[in-house]
Amino acid sequence: MSFANNAVSELAPLAPEACVAVGICAVLCADLVPALRTRTAGLWLGVLACAIAAVLALSPARAIVAQMLVIDGVAGLVRPVIALVTAFVLIAGAGERRSANDHGAWATCVLGIGLGAMLVAAAANLIVLWLGLELISLASYALASWRARDRRAAEAGMKFVLFGGAASGVMLFGISHVFGLTGHLDFTGIGAAFAQQMPIAVLASLLMAFVGVAYKLTIVPFHFYAPDVYQGAPALSVAAVGAVPKLAAGAVLLRGLATMLPPSLVPPASVGAVLAVAAMVSLGVASLTALAQRDAKRIVAFSGIGHGGTVLLAAASGGGTAAAASAIFYLLAYAAANVGALLCLSVLERDLGSCELAKLAGAIRRRPWVTVLLCLFLFSLAGVPPLAGFTAKWAVLQQALGGGPMLVAAAFALLASTAIFAWSYLLIIRAAVLAPAPLLPRASGVRMPLPTAFVLLCCAAGTIGLGLWLDALPAIAQVFS
């Protein structure tokens, strides 16, 4: 009994994860009940689980679970957000029209992503990290190709799984070397081993292990799957596949940098410079390539690549809490705007058949409010003040400009890419708002599903609120310290 008691008390901080896991089981069970299967009941069960998980995760308690998971400031902040975003995606899913018995399975996958992301966000052990990422990935693969009879969705899924598998293979190979060379899989242990000496082989292995995270953060050159998956997958799936894992990957990146390469051992400037260069490359490639896209979702994908680079830049700006806070804040702002934008696109996609720029013409006539909100989210992504994207960019830039020359250079690259990205977002706006409209009837007959509208409004509120609430940033930093 005492063992059980111990286990319970030790595992108590993982209540949110457990809650989501239970939620998954509940959804699966609900699917078995014929009376519930035809409704969206399973889905709402998932929402409930996520909501409870979010509330549970809000607890300020800090804990270390068996050198495997750490509930530190970053995790304490990101986990509730992950739960919340997952819940929002689920709610939005309730507005989707899909075959009756699909809801449960879909919810299971989204919850899987949520669970995996929460684990990754709290991971303090490379194997746990890898497992968490695998969990995210497996659920993501399924989500990405959800429209089973759609060639493009299937292709997206295939590319995703093969690319993701490769990344995960490389990561695992790196992890195994790290383990072999240091004898540890937990971050603190690796950090302690580094403290004695820092063989280049370990660093190389660690960098290989980093590939798995980089791939979730869509850092160039591990971003290749993203455009194709975004384009082929349903927009709502993309919201789950794109934003949620980024939050988790960002969180674990911060923790890994702080614990495995503590600034006292590795000169932060050297790590920072490497990461800053990676960030610059991501920003440059993404912003320019986005210009040549003809599909709104692909543009959003490249925007995600750029934002991943920005998060990397924030993480590169030294290990201080302020830098971490800026990265987290950036991820929050990104999540709100990105989920919102993809949700808008999913509504338009359903109405107009595709997110290709050419097909978006007349969106403003057909769905004026959704299109206006889409613009709002895109402006936030572009960093137009006073929206969340601006404040977040502000925070990151402030950190980077205070750093070494490479960081300052990266900051200016970020500024330059802002203008170029703005241009590619404008391509979407141009297509949806400014293009001469084919005389589409206003979609008054097809009312906007209430859940979708609710989530959209929440995202909009978050986007504006995070933008105006400048003191959110110090509040986040306070959580860390």
């Binding site: 399924a142 299937a154 295939m158 799984v161 093969l162 490769a166 293979g169 195994s176 896209q293």
Partner: protein, 108 residues
């Protein structure tokens, strides 16, 4: 010169490296999706092998992290292979082909 006998770690690592290299090669060169999938499996198995080897030769006596990890890897690799095959099947069902060069409707 490393000792490549059965009781030395070097031979395991060498095999793992060969496996990994083969996997990377397969990934980089195969046009068939199944080939790529096999490559991925090779990479994962190389990693699993290394975990086991490191666990056996390097870790302290009561440390089973390596072996545990190897088991996890096998499980996860199986799951991954299942999902991947399902998706490949979906692609095959829609386009009667799993040639990666042909399957490129999604592009810039």
């Amino acid at each position: 010169m490393a000792d490549f006998g059965p009781s030395s770690i070097a031979s395991y690592l060498a095999v793992a490296l060969v496996l990994f290299a083969a996997g990377v090669l397969a990934i980089g060169t195969r046009r068939n999706a199944i080939g790529v999938l096999i490559g991925i499996e090779l990479m994962l198995n190389a990693a699993a092998l290394q975990f086991a080897a490191y666990g056996r030769f390097r870790a302290e006596a009561n440390d089973v992290q390596g072996q545990t990890a190897a088991v996890f890897v096998v499980v996860a690799a199986a799951a991954e292979a299942a999902v991947a095959l399902a998706l490949l099947f979906a692609v095959y069902r829609t386009s009667r082909d799993i040639d990666l060069e042909q399957t490129r409707e999604l592009r810039s």
